[in-house]
Every structure is written in structure tokens, then in C-alpha cells.
Symmetry: C2
Subunit: 379 residues, 2 copies
């Protein structure tokens, strides 16, 4: 390990106390030493994705957050609702590092050939603890980026790109002809729209505001339905008749929209049916909930026949089903189209301490479409 | 066709008028003539199953029902809620025969060997229009019952027995280790309990009243949870830990119970987990909704991680997946265990006209556990 590296490094930690308090801090920990098959990455950019917030915030109410400590070493505390504490018992008392993915430069490498080959390369990594100055990972987990790649462009190589590609792969695996996507103007939704244009996949986007509609139309979207429009259900049904889409990915979770999508799919299926079926259409209609922007209960009126399914969808089990050849194929596409199809846009850049600033925290905790934070731990 | 058969026969009909009125009548129709491959069955017994009520009552509000006509030829009218009319458009104006299954005696047969072999046999049939004095069906659809079988014992050979067997088959097909069943003291639930005892399948029954609990315990049930007990969620979780059941069949549909079952399955999975997983357990938890005793919305709090599914379950598509060898295997078991495992109990026997009596109609429309009607069209 080169001499110039410091002996310690800083890392964001999230701690759930048995008393029901969340505590966020920046810990100073020993600099890791790479094993023969590992590399040490100096993290230059790590995104705050919705999928990071569960571990970081532990469902704490950010409106109760207060801060102490110093500007460089803030200590944030917030209250966790009592009903959520039971589900957090397994992490209670453990100070946990956070951050699913990021990008940086390999500054030290283990003795293996594979690790040495990555020395000084810019790489993207996944696997947790990226909200830190450094992260030691197996060389095999690194995605080596082309010479000259800006680490900020490589920070979001995994979660959003693989999720968007995973939606299209799932559609093909499960025999559907098109997709529906909610909260569709998000970074991920824009990637999905670009993939669908490139691959000729029929896509129905659902957004909540006219300006979000425009973002997607500018990317070539044919179907964008605004859920706040009085004609939403008719618009959605007609887009579903047009596309034949019977699979939806929903980032919201709560409320009535999941059921509305199934009901409109059923209406679309019946619009082309030739005879009455007492149990509804025989077309399988599926919604996967992959996010939880709305934590309120999901309410289903079940006005969509008997041939339907709803389920949770997560990237990791999907990749397990896809298999290693498929994963390599998707990773290669992400690298090849990093600054086009898979370009991410960040509205705010913050340091590690900046990520624990109360004003910033309240913004990214809201998960509003269009707001996206990038942590810059070492720049 | 023998001379002694009348020229016409009586048949219950359900008509949805575009105005939003349901009309139930007894039509007099021409006696069908069997084609070479068909037989004519004199229906002696046909059950009123929950799965018949959708077609019969068309979601009409039975509290608005009024009757006219004569005692022998009643005409029942009732109001269909406006929001349900759209889904009924495809059957509007068509007078539809009703009744999924039944049993009776073959009184005329087509010229084929297969049809002739059934002459004078007692058979069980499925395929609609069994709330009638006679029904003409392909010989291949008849389940020939052992000499001396009481038609009342054969009336419910298909829907409940194949559904109960289908639950266990689905459990095996989808790799689960045990079952959960709601509204478990029903005729179907009792069959399922007997199957599970015989086959050594762990079963968790959910009921609403202590006397229902006792019915199942008397059949050898090890796990019966009362959803009205204050300790219901703890009782259910502990039964799930004990059985490892991760698949539920739900007859109710509405309310919070589907979500509670998933949450207790998740708690049971986590009770044996060794480390915290931010997205919940990786054990797949599934609920199939196969009935709609409660038509109110399904409310999901989604406090059960990300590895879960909910869907509709219907007998016909399941049998399609099972294939013809499997169907033959299940049918043979039903005949062999007709008066034991698959025994049904009826609280009321009515004529065709009696089935349209307002007092009777209001009772069976309620689908209360323990109340079961048998129509006797010709006895």
C-alpha cells in the first residue's frame, strides 16, 4: 500500500438506538488494506438513490431531526415512529455504513493480476459503504470505465441503469408486450424511456405534472399520462389499448394507483374481447412495486377480474434470475452508453458533512422528482 | 330420445338490463336433443357455490330485491349499483343460464359408444346451466359415479374438491412447505383440512368465531387462528414459525387480512434470520385471492419487505397448468373419497322456484360460513 494514503478515513454511519432514535454521524475508521483479490477505491462521487434512504434514515421522521457536533463532524438525531421500530430490531445498536454505489479511482491494489490491472483506473462500484472517502472491494465487482471518464458520470452505473434494463428484461422473460412506469420523469424513468425508444418497446409513462410530461416527450415518449388530469383513467386505458402493455413497474407503492393501473389494463383487455367472461379477462396483468415514494397503504378495489398479480421487485434477486451472462451483457451496455442512454443529472453536490446538513437531508428525504444529490467525499 | 321426456324444461335465467336492473326468472326452454357424443342429464342436485353468485346476482344489491309473478314462476328484480354496470356491459341484454355444477341421472344419450355407456348412470357434471331440470353435456365431461351414489353426494364433485386439491398442488408446484387458508371453516375449508391431514401438509386455518375453530379442531387441525382474538397476529406468527407456511389462499379479498398474513409471514421469516436485511427477508411470501366474501378494498400496509406476491387464483387456469394427467388423478381421488374427504353439507334444499324466493336469496347471497344451499330441480 502506497505511503501517501492516510491512516484513517471518514465514513457516514447510521445507527438505530433501541430507544427509537436514529443517529447519523461521520465515523473515522482505519484505512482498509486490500487483500490480494481486492482494490482500494478513492470515492469521488456517490449518488443518493431512493434505495439508499431505507438504510440511511431507517424510516425516521426527518421533521424531528436536530443537529449537534461541528460543521465537519455533524451528529444528526431524529425520531423513529414506534410502529416501525419492531422491523428494525435486527439492526438496533449496530452502526452501519451506507451508500449502495459510487465511482472513483483505484489508489491501491492487492497482489492478484486482476487487482493490479485496475491500478489508477476509474471504476464504478456497488456493494455498500460508498458514502465514505475510500472503499475496499473485490476487483471482480469493479466496472472499469473508459479512459477519461468523469467519475461523476460513472457514479450511477448500477442501480438505475440495471433497474431500467431489468424492467425490459423482466417484460421479455414474463412474456409481456409493453411496459407501464410510474413516477416516470425520474432519472431512472428517463433512462427507461431512452432504452424503450432504442429497443422499440412500447412504454406508457405516468407522471404527476405537465412539466414532467414534457421531459419525457422531449425524449421521444409516445404515451405520457398525467395522473392529476381529470381524464387520467381514460387516457391510461387508451394508451394501454394502443400498446398492449400488461406489465407495470411502480415506484410509489401507496394509494390507489396500483389498482387503477390493473383496472385500466382490464378495461383495455375487455375493449378487444368478443364475449363476456364472468371472471374478467384471461389476460395476465402484473404490477411490480419497486419503490415506496408513498408510504401510505396500497388500496386495491379489485375491479380487474381474477387474472392479475402484484409483487415486490428488487434488483438483486432479478440479477440472480438473469444469470451471469445476462449481467455481463447489461454491464457492457451501461458502459457503452454511459453518457447517453444512462446519463444521470444531479441538482446538488455535497460533501460527506454536507449530506448530513439538515436542509439538504430534508430535501433528499422527500424524494421529489427532479431533485438528485451527488455526494463528493474526496473532492 | 325416449318418448317419456317432456318437450320443454325449466331453467333459471339471469338477465342484466341496460337500465341497471337484474331480473331472475325461470324460463321454459325446448328439451335439448343430445348429439352423438353428448348425454342428457336429469339434474337432481346442484349446489349454490360462492362462485355461482357473480353470474346469478351480477353484483345487484339484494336488499333492493322485489318479487312478482307466481309461486311457481317468480320474477325477481333488483338494482345493480351504477359503478358496477360498466363491467357488465358485455352480458347486458342476454338472458343467461346459471349453475356451475351438479349431479343427476343420464336419461338420454347420443349414438356414440362413450355416450351410450353412461345411459341410466348417476353422473356429476360441470360447465354451466345446471340450475335447470335437464342439462345436455358432452359425455367426456361427465364424472361417472359409483353405482348407488346419492346424487346429492355427487352434486359438489368439482368446484370445492378440485379447488381444495388445487391449493395443495399449487403449493407443491411453487415450492412452498405449508398453507394458510382463510374463511377456513367453509365446506371447502373442511375438505382442505381433511386433505392436509391425509397428506401430511402443514395447514394454518384462519376463522372468525370460536365454534368455527372447533369444527376444524374436530377434523384434526393443529393450527386454527381466530382473527377476532386480541392475540391474532401473535398466534398467526407463531403458527407460521411452526409450519413454515409461506403460501396463503384467501376467500375474503377485502380489508387488511391479506396484508396481515404477509406481515406475519415476514415476521416468521425474520424470527429465524441471523442478520439484518434492509429490504426484508428473502423468503418469497405469496397470497392468492380466490374469493370475494368482503367486497371492500384490499388494504396493504406493505410492512412485509420486498419479496412477496399477491394475485388472483381461479380453478380453470390452474387446471390448464396442471394438465390432463393431473386432472384425471384429482378426479379419481374425488370419486374415491366422495363421502369422506370431499363430503359436503347442505343446510337448505330448495326447488328452482325456491332458489328465487327472496328470503332464501338473501341468505345465500350473504355467503355466511355454515349456510349452504342445494337446488333440487327435479325431486
Amino acid at each position: 500500500m502506497p505511503n501517501e494514503l492516510p491512516e484513517t478515513m471518514r465514513q457516514i454511519r447510521s445507527l438505530v438506538k433501541a430507544s427509537g432514535t436514529l443517529e447519523l454521524t461521520i465515523a473515522s475508521v482505519e484505512m482498509p488494506q486490500p487483500e490480494p483479490h481486492e482494490v482500494l477505491v478513492r470515492i469521488e462521487a456517490a449518488p443518493i438513490n431512493p434505495s439508499d434512504l431505507g438504510l440511511l434514515l431507517a424510516t425516521a421522521d426527518v421533521d424531528t431531526a436536530t443537529t449537534s457536533g461541528t460543521a465537519d463532524n455533524p451528529v444528526v438525531t431524529a425520531t423513529i415512529p414506534p410502529q416501525a421500530l419492531r422491523g428494525l430490531a435486527a439492526r438496533s445498536g449496530q452502526s452501519m455504513p451506507v451508500g449502495n454505489e459510487g465511482a472513483g479511482v483505484v489508489v491501491a491494489a492487492g497482489s492478484s493480476e486482476e487487482a493490479q490491472a485496475l491500478m489508477n483506473r476509474t471504476v464504478a462500484i456497488i456493494g455498500g459503504a460508498t458514502y465514505a472517502e475510500y472503499r475496499c472491494v473485490p476487483a471482480a465487482l469493479c466496472l472499469s470505465l473508459p479512459e477519461g471518464t468523469n467519475p461523476a458520470d460513472g457514479a450511477s452505473c448500477f442501480v438505475n441503469p440495471l433497474t431500467a434494463l431489468g424492467m425490459v428484461e423482466t417484460m421479455n422473460m414474463e412474456g409481456h408486450q409493453g411496459l407501464v412506469h410510474t413516477a416516470a420523469a425520474s432519472n431512472l424513468g428517463q433512462m427507461l424511456q431512452r432504452i424503450c425508444v432504442a429497443d422499440g418497446v412500447p412504454l406508457v409513462n405516468i407522471v404527476r405534472r405537465p412539466e414532467q410530461e414534457q421531459i419525457l416527450r422531449d425524449l421521444g415518449a409516445r404515451h405520457v399520462c398525467n395522473s392529476n388530469s381529470p381524464s387520467f383513467l381514460d387516457d391510461l386505458t387508451s394508451a394501454l389499448v394502443d400498446t398492449g402493455a400488461t406489465l407495470a413497474f411502480d415506484a410509489i407503492g401507496g394509494g390507489r394507483q396500483v389498482g387503477q393501473i390493473l383496472a385500466c389494463m382490464e378495461a383495455a383487455a375487455n375493449a378487444t374481447a368478443t364475449e363476456y367472461s364472468r371472471y374478467g379477462s384471461t389476460v395476465h396483468k402484473q404490477v411490480y412495486i419497486y419503490g415506496g415514494l408513498d408510504r401510505s397503504p396500497t388500496e386495491l378495489n379489485r375491479n380487474f377480474g381474477m387474472t392479475w398479480g402484484i409483487g415486490g421487485w428488487l434488483l438483486t434477486p432479478f440479477l440472480g434470475k438473469l444469470g451471469s451472462e445476462g449481467i455481463v451483457r447489461l454491464r457492457e451496455r451501461v458502459v457503452a452508453e454511459l453518457t447517453t442512454t444512462f446519463a444521470s443529472h444531479y441538482t446538488d453536490e455535497v460533501s460527506l458533512a454536507g449530506a448530513l446538513n439538515l436542509d439538504a437531508l430534508k430535501v433528499y428525504a422527500r424524494q421529489a422528482t427532479g431533485q438528485k444529490f451527488l455526494i463528493r467525499p474526496t473532492t
